[in-house]
């Protein structure tokens, strides 16, 4: 019995299913869904195709249809377990989450492009944050697991037994989930710490808007980190090429 293998696949499907449901729920709570719902209703009324009597019932049926479709696509992609499919799933989820997420922007980009619409958030910021973190975290776990599985399949072709492969995959998945839980905790803690830090920084820097300080520090860190990674890759690549050149024919 490959119990560990099926356990890992179960975890993967659970993550895919859970992230998908959260994404769908987020979509139904967004201004975009409300707009689409209204537009569909108006079209049905205009062309006399309103076989569903009231708007209230459309509100119930439409999410159901969308949910079933998305869940089916999710399960199909999740069952295949390839990194490409995981990417598709992630794209769908991000697309569903984005409308609600955009509602928390300080910059109303719809008004910038001339659409007179207010992006009003319908749910609490903390709820949306957890939803987004679960979606991104689930994707990250699945992405690494699928890549890892591909790497292990290469080992399988080299004669490694399935039991050993399953054991390694299982341990990797557990490690990945544990690490993601820790990461989400850190980010959630960070999100709660930001307002406090904001006030402290505001006071410390003599009224300078804290967003500038945070963005400045964050940008500096990111640029430094990216530069370090870039240079390191270049240097290691050059050393490798030099080593290959020196090797005797």
């Amino acid at each position: 019995m490959r119990s560990r293998f099926y356990l890992v696949r179960g975890i993967e499907i659970l993550i895919a299913f859970g992230t998908c449901l959260l994404a769908v729920q987020s979509f139904f709570s967004s201004w975009l869904y409300e707009s689409i719902n209204m537009a569909v209703n108006n079209l049905l009324i205009r062309f006399g195709l309103q076989f569903i009597p009231t708007t209230v019932e459309v509100d119930q049926v439409f999410p159901l249809i969308v949910t079933v479709l998305v869940v089916l696509v999710t399960v199909y992609n999740g069952l295949l377990g390839r990194s490409g499919n995981i990417m598709n799933l992630y794209n769908v989820n991000i697309m569903l989450v984005s409308p609600e997420l955009l509602g928390f922007s300080r910059l109303n980009w719809l008004q910038l492009i001339g659409v007179p619409m207010a992006l009003e958030p319908r749910r609490e910021a903390s709820v949306v944050l957890v939803t987004c973190l679960v979606v991104v975290g689930g994707y990250t776990i699945q992405y690494f697991t699928s890549r890892y599985r591909e790497e292990l399949s290469e080992y399988g072709s080299r004669g490694i037994g399935k039991e050993e492969l399953d054991a390694v995959l299982y341990n990797q998945s557990i490690t990945s989930v544990a690490l993601m839980v820790a990461s989400v905790s850190v980010v959630v803690g960070f999100s709660y710490a930001v307002p406090v830090l904001k006030e402290r920084l505001h006071a410390a820097f003599g009224g300078l808007p804290s967003i500038y300080i945070v963005l400045g520090v964050a940008s500096t860190l990111i640029v430094t980190f990216s530069l370090r990674v870039f240079l390191r890759e270049r240097l290691v690549g050059r050393e490798g090429a030099k080593g290959d050149g020196d090797s005797p024919a």
Partner: protein, 476 residues
């Protein structure tokens, strides 16, 4: 070990994170920034966990000796310390080895604690030789695949000495039987100084020393009215046997593992053991009748016996390769005892097809200094066919120069004809063809017998060597 390099997965994730943060900064949306921070935190936490360290292997016994086709269990205790992730350990097996049980490659998970395990498997070596196991290769991968896999090898110092399995030839001890298996002429002497080497037990005959009476055996047969039984011992003498093993392409019939030459090696070892146990002094040489003629006379003028020939035996110019062949020596001078058996065994370990430098005639000539005056028995292990018969006849002609023919006209040489056709035959048609060729070769074997040689026909695919030799036993 190289520095750690980010894997493609990590870089892709980081790029995604940066794009989220950039979007968040542009829109003034903290949720986007938090979404971008999450993968970065995940990768940073992941990178804090290093790859597993290099596996340490407990050193096994340096040299192990085993027989061909013998199973051997290999155990490599492995210890991995530090880091977390998967470790692939494996050992490359020479193609001559067959994996019987277990696996020579393992994938292990190195958790938070130290990992102590072992790589164990059972192998069978199908060919003689010296095989060195000098490294255990490993691959150490990050627990989440965030960094590139590190490759390396740990030192293992083990040598497997695979010896050919000799065919144990036993003496027939029944009194009513006698062996037609030829011994050196000097072995037939009745007079001489008896050694301490036990030969057989027989009935007392006039002149036997009372000291040699075996009282236990005598008491067993006394009630039957038989005379006393005496222990008989080998007589001391100059019994010399020269064994020549053919390395030419005629012996190559069969697979890489099971071919005429490999069976020939086993036969040589069995014969050497047999004659050495009979107090004979056994010499050994490889030859190859397909090698071109070398002018040995010029050699003896310039450098004496055994000097380096001026023409390459392989057809090329003389060089370091030839010198090497000479230095390693292509024959062993006759000697007795276990030490000689060990030397022959070592020689056979290194012996390869096409390894003979000279043809049979030249090989005998090169050993001439050690042959003259010893009246030896020549044993030639070869495969007789139409192509080889002329050279073999020349060799037998050379043999006769050193043999003092007795009144009984004992054979001057023993030829063990290893028939390789049966080894290669697969299926009924090929077996039938092999039998036809074997029948056709009978005429060649007869012609060899006509030249004073005793020929033993041996088909390794159907007969054990001991059975072939037992067929040489007759009744009085």
């Amino acid at each position: 070990m190289k520095g750690r390099v980010f894997s493609q997965s990590s870089l892709r994730l980081l790029v995604g994170a940066v794009s989220f943060i950039t979007t968040g900064m542009f829109l003034g949306n903290m949720l986007f920034i938090y979404m971008g921070v999450l993968p970065i935190v995940y990768v940073l936490l992941g990178l804090a966990i290093p790859n597993p360290g290099a596996p340490e292997v407990a050193q096994p016994a340096e040299t192990s000796t085993l027989w061909v086709d013998q199973d051997v269990s290999v155990r490599r205790p492995i210890s991995v310390k530090g880091g977390m992730g998967h470790v692939l350990v494996g050992e490359t097996l020479p193609p001559e080895f067959e994996l019987i049980e277990g696996s020579n490659i393992r994938l292990l998970w190195k958790g938070a604690g130290d990992l102590d395990t072992e790589l164990s498997y059972t192998i069978r070596c199908t060919r003689r030789g010296v095989y060195a196991f000098d490294e255990l290769r490993w691959e150490s991968g990050h627990s989440l695949g965030m960094t590139s896999t590190e490759l390396g090898s740990s030192e293992v110092d083990q040598t497997l000495l695979v010896r050919p399995q000799p065919f144990h030839i036993r003496r027939v001890r029944q009194q009513k039987t006698f062996s037609k298996f030829i011994m050196p002429s000097e072995a037939h002497i009745k007079m001489g100084i008896p050694t301490t080497e036990y030969k057989e037990i027989r009935e007392y005959s006039f002149g036997d020393s009372y000291r040699h009476i075996n009282w236990k055996a005598t008491s067993r047969v006394a009630s039957l009215g038989k005379p006393p039984m005496v222990n008989s011992y080998e007589m001391e003498g100059m019994k010399v046997v020269w064994i020549f093993l053919d390395t030419s392409r005629e012996m190559a019939l069969g697979t890489n593992v099971k071919n005429g030459f490999e069976y020939g090696v086993q036969a040589v070892l069995g014969l050497a053991q047999f004659y050495l146990s009979r107090n004979c002094r056994v010499g050994f040489s490889l030859y190859d009748d397909n090698k071109q003629t070398v002018n040995l006379r010029r050699v003896s003028r310039t450098g004496g016996l055994g000097a380096l020939p001026d023409i390459s035996p392989l057809g090329g110019a003389s060089g370091e390769g030839d010198l090497h062949l000479y230095e390693t020596g292509d024959f062993l001078i006759p000697d007795s005892g276990k030490r000689q058996l060990h030397k022959i065994s070592e020689k056979l370990l290194e012996a390869e097809l096409y390894g003979g430098v000279y043809n049979l005639k030249q090989s005998i000539q090169r050993c001439r200094g050690h042959i003259i005056g010893t009246n030896p028995l020549f044993v030639i292990v070869t495969s007789i066919n139409e192509r080889a018969v002329t050279k073999l006849s020349e060799g037998l002609g050379e043999v006769r120069r050193y043999i003092r023919l007795s009144r009984k006209a004992n054979p001057s040489a023993l030829i063990v004809h290893v028939s390789g056709y049966g080894i290669t035959a697969q299926g009924e048609d090929e077996e039938a063809a092999s039998q036809i060729i074997t029948l056709e070769n009978r005429a060649l074997l007869r012609s060899m017998r006509g030249q004073g040689a005793q020929v033993i026909h041996w088909d390794p695919s159907t007969q054990h060597f001991s059975d072939v030799l037992l067929s040489q036993v007759g009744r009085r």
